[in-house]
Amino acid sequence: MVPLLDIRNLTLDIPTADGTLRPVRGVDLAVARGETVAIVGESGCGKSLTALAIMGLLPRGARLAADRIALSQQSLIGLSSRQWRSIRGKRIAMIFQDPMTAFDPCYRIGDQIAEILRQHRPASATAGRMAAMLARVGIASPDERLRQYPHQLSGGLRQRVMIATALLCEPDLIIADEPTTALDVTIQAQILRLLVDIQKETGFGLVIITHDLGVVAGVADRVVVMYGGEVVETGTAAAVIGAPRHPYTEGLMRSIPVPGKVGRRAALGFIPGMVPRPDAVRTGCGFLDRCPYADQACGVGAVALRTAPDGRTMRCALPLDGSGRAPDAWTRPITS
């Protein structure tokens, strides 16, 4: 089956005064209709830039190279800004992390939503249709909300408005970059539930970018773990969270306190050291300096993404067997 979104070998180069940086290195990503794929990783892993590349919203000067970026078979490489405008908001919509800064504080909510509709579906830019969509995302008294300004809405409400805006043109694909990170936990659960419910009805593909493995467990069908600009592990969310096979994923899992799982104030695992600089040239495995399992072979040559018989992939010369081979490995003191 042809995936809805198909990205092969996406690389981004950003020239700077200190040389060229490569924050995204050879990323593959496929999302089917109705599927939710989570991209997980920490600051600087390239997950947000990957999302911006899909939206055609790269920072000035960034150079994109890819074998393929296609939405339902249509290539998105080298589109003009005019062509992009007909895709963004209509076929691909984005939900940003911070609903405070994503809206313009000077305009009423209704005017900002109408702008999207005027761009893509002028005939349907009616207050009635907008109010119906706000009601669909659980906003009480939608007509009143349309007349308000962003600052008059709470964070949770603003995020609902953003979701409503994203849904208006019935996009094929929604990219949500940390959609609930700025929200309270109870609101987070409700917003995620809303996204999942509407996805069941309309069948959009969803890429959710997050650092929270709890969110991944709650909503994702598949997960893509990124580290240092590379995809280091993929698989179904249940399989990856249940038994990580890349040491980085395992380190992440061990560093999360889970109620009732680790003793009170018992040492949590952590990943020593720091994220590597995204230099264009890299020898050996990108996780080498921080990996408790690394041996000499890991420093030689780039590590390829390999596929296990069950379809999971991992970029590791010594993948874990999923049984938690060395539980102490992650609590050793930093030696550097």
């Binding site: 009480a140 987070q188 969110v215 399989a239 560093s255 109620p259 720091m274």
Partner: protein
């Protein structure tokens, strides 16, 4: 006697504003809470519940509108500024904005000593090095500037600055919320170690219930300027008595295979802090609301060795 005793504390903010009316925001609406020496107590609740306001009152940068806060047997208002700083120190959320970018790590960490005075330059440097060792900052970073540090290192600097004067009480407001999870783990480990090594009493403000469960002995759950439930972490996590506490705990997404998104029993009628509803502050969102809840504010009453403010506890 408890190390910190909070009694009947309220805090109102007068919102400047339109010509028509001057709104009053009741950030705290009658708080009673005791913090025992040597414990880690967490204040949890969602944004706007008043937890950070309570922290500001504890570190003395603001005063309550009514009520008293007693620390080590004396009202906190009777302490001088320096005296109070020797006893209580804060750690803030954002290590990017809480450190002066123009000062070196050593100068930032030593600032509390300089304010207190009475140190020779040698004893000052020794104290700085000692505390940097304790928080896991390599000494070669003493002359670095905050911009040269990672987020985790910055938060270590903030903790070192708080501890260099050997306070008894640490008030941490979301100390790990701005950090990546693998770095958060290091800071949580550090706080646990320092709590043991320095015999600290810690008040931890957070919205992250996993952090609460990992680090703290007791929990006070806040909603709309009131404490709605206080008890041991184990007790509350095992069987919450307040409906709000239960929904808060159900909302936690555990990173476990096959976890289902919870369907919360919460209405989305958010009460406004400038016009809190009569009766229980939680009543517009609660699934168990009755007429009584809309009329009468529930008092804290003991239940199972806990205190719960609810007419219909679970």
């Amino acid at each position: 006697m408890s190390l910190i005793d909070i009694h009947g504390v309220t805090r109102a903010y007068h919102l400047g504003g339109g010509l028509r009316r001057r709104a009053v925001l009741q950030a705290l609406r009658g708080i009673d809470l005791a913090v025992e020496e040597g414990e880690i107590l967490s204040l949890v609740g969602e944004s706007g519940c008043g937890k950070s306001t309570l922290a500001r009152l504890l570190i003395g940068i603001e005063e309550p509108s009514a009520g008293t806060i007693t620390v080590a047997g004396r009202p906190i208002s009777s302490y001088g500024r320096l005296e109070r700083a020797r006893l209580i120190q804060p750690v803030f959320q954002d290590p990017y904005s809480s450190l002066n970018p123009r000062k070196t790590v050593a100068a930032i960490v030593a600032a509390p000593l300089d304010v207190q005075g009475g140190e020779t330059s040698r004893s000052r440097m020794a104290a700085v090095h000692q505390i940097m060792d304790a928080v896991g900052l390599p000494r070669y970073l003493a002359n670095a500037y905050p911009s040269q540090l990672s987020g985790g290192q910055r938060q270590r600097v903030a903790i070192a600055r708080a501890l260099v004067g050997r306070p008894k009480i640490l008030v941490c407001d979301e100390p790990t919320s701005a950090l990546d999870v693998s770095v958060q783990a290091q800071i949580l480990n550090l706080l646990a170690d320092l709590h043991r090594a320095f015999k600290l009493t810690v008040v931890l403000i957070t919205h992250n219930l996993a952090v609460v469960s990992h680090l703290t002995d007791r929990v006070a759950v806040m909603y709309l300027g009131r404490i709605v439930e206080v008890g041991t972490t184990d007790g509350i996590f095992a069987a919450p008595h307040h409906p709000y506490t239960r929904e808060l705990l159900r909302a936690v997404l555990r990173p476990e295979p096959g976890m289902q998104l919870p369907s919360l029993q919460l209405k989305s009628d958010f009460p406004s802090p400038t016009a809190p509803p009569p009766g229980c502050g939680f009543n517009p969102r609660c699934a168990r609301t009755t007429e009584l809840c809309r009329r009468t504010m529930p008092d804290m009453s003991p239940l199972d060795g806990r205190a719960v403010a609810c007419h219909h506890p679970l």
